[in-house]
Amino acid sequence: MNILSVIVQRLGLGILTVLIVSILVFVGTEILPGDVAYAILGQGATPELVANIQERLGLDEPAHLRYLAWLGELLRGDLGTSLANGAILNDVIGERIGNTVLLAAVTAAIAVPLSVVLGLIASTRPDSAIDRLISTSTLALISVPDFLIAVLLVSLFAVQLGWLPAIANLNRVDGFLEYARVLALPVTALSFTVMAHMARMTRSAVLNVLTSSPIEMAILKGVPKWRIILVHALPNAIAPIINVIALNLAYLITGIVVIESMFNFPGIGRLMVEGVTTRDIPLVQAAAMIFCSTYVVLNLAADIISLIANPRVRHPK
């Protein structure tokens, strides 16, 4: 099959996935028995007040029409207004999304190369002491909740030693060094879990390639080890490694939600948790759509890059 048509097909699939995600987000928040009007009113819900709110929010209309209206606004870039305080969500989220992107980008920039290198080291010397060290320590790390690492880091570096702030306040921060100080703990905490998952999966992906028959052939022919890894194994391993990186973005998203809340970091992860607490449905919907679409788009990008990187796809028979 032509590589271009494969890419077009994947793009179509990506758009379809985002659509399904939007249906799930909408159905999850609005059609499940928890009634929006009751959620807003809480204890003070009387039938009249409920009817009043339902009319104001257009909740008396059938669900599929409400979905289409919501989707239409979403596509036009209008995220709606918060139920909790009536704020325009575009402003609230726009203010914070940069911070979350910064946190995620810095974490990825540190964690991705490090974990790929760790995975490569472990996979090229399977069952050696260094492999066992990397495998066991990463296994222990993925078993540990991200907030344990965060709690340990805060108690050590912020409370006992007093070197770094425990709260990530970005308001009065300027200059690179200040940013680095504020971001140091959240980024480190996030990197640990993401790195552990990524290093393990990189190891098994590369090991998979290294035990394949073409590589075995190369070993039997007496090709030097560095040449096997660089020329024979790596081109075939790039695609699985990229997939591993994309898959781990899910851990990054979970991590962002937890770590932002832990450090009071002004990003959309914490905003979403606050939205869930106050049952601010439009806010949760908007944040969920942003997180999920990012995840789908990044996975799609990884998919396409690994297609292009895969020699077998690039040079079809």
Partner: protein
């Protein structure tokens, strides 16, 4: 049957490495502590013993007091109990649903398999935490809602593993022989597929259990899981976070409890897979 189980247990004991033994010991202790919590805990769960919050250990308070002056050591027992019970229920439920649907898809194939597999693909395209947050927004965080939601999310992963195992087994000669013999469908699932999928499934159960522990603890830590006055380990960390700023280690104890269970289970699963020379269930997805 009993003899076979005893035999295989004896063989397993022979293969135990020191690490695996330690992990097994920790898991047994934790399960025992969870079951016997009301008898082992020196004080009642909600009993306020002193007026001092975050007091250092001593005077009958083995790990000091929590933010309300309650005995942290006793609260750990009860928190552990709730975490273990909730997570076990989640893992069992996820297994029940995921395994039956997975095997069913493998055996039936065709449109049924297609339909469920695509549905699972769509659900996995969703970061799990987002799905949980959405449902909690709509229904509020009560324990039944949390259990069903997390079990549902987990069952998609179990489905993939069970289906992959089932598909491999269904094409084996012995299954074909049984089909030709005219065995019924339920018999096939129970006597042919399940026993042959047992090793990876046992490993997967361990992984799902730790996953459920981590997930429910994270939600409780965020204030979106178990709600006070009930307290699981995640709640214990959340409510005592302030103590960190006073220089005590109060929130570290429940966090370390979680880590002890999850690390032990994962290392044990790792040992189990190596011993049986089986692939990790994660690779089956």
């Amino acid at each position: 049957m009993v003899e076979r189980v005893v035999m295989s247990l004896r063989e397993a004991r022979r293969d135990l490495t020191p690490t695996a033994t330690l992990c097994l010991l920790i898991i047994c202790l934790i399960l025992l502590a969870a079951i016997l919590a009301p008898f082992l805990a020196p004080h009642r769960e909600g009993e306020i013993l002193t007026t001092g919050s975050f007091m250092s250990p001593g005077e009958g308070l083995f790990l000091g007091s929590d933010y309300l002056g309650r005995d942290l050591f006793s609260r750990l027992f009860y928190g552990l109990r709730l975490t273990v019970v909730v997570s076990l229920t989640i893992a069992l439920l996820a297994f029940l649903v995921g395994c039956s649907l997975g095997f069913l898809a493998a055996v039936l194939g065709g449109r049924f398999d297609m339909l469920i597999s695509r549905l699972v693909d769509a659900l996995i395209a969703f970061p799990a935490i987002m799905l949980a947050l959405i449902v909690i927004t709509a229904l509020g965080p009560s324990i039944p809602v949390l259990v069903v939601t997390i079990a549902f999310i987990d069952s998609t992963r179990v489905f993939r593993v069970a289906r992959a195992l089932g598909v491999d087994i269904v094409v084996q000669d012995y299954v074909e022989a049984a089909t030709v013999r005219g065995e019924r469908f339920g018999w096939l699932m129970w006597h042919e597929i399940l026993p042959n999928a047992l090793v990876p499934l046992a490993a997967e159960f361990g992984i799902r259990f730790t996953y459920a522990i981590l997930f429910i603890s994270a939600l409780s830590f965020l204030g979106l899981g178990v709600q006070p006055p009930q307290a699981d380990l995640g709640v214990l960390i959340r409510e005592n976070m302030q103590g960190l700023l006073y220089g005590t280690f109060t929130p570290l104890y429940p966090a370390l409890c979680i880590a002890a269970i999850t690390i032990s289970i994962n290392l044990l699963v790792d040992w189990y897979l190596r011993r049986n020379d089986a692939a990790s269930p994660e690779d089956l997805q």
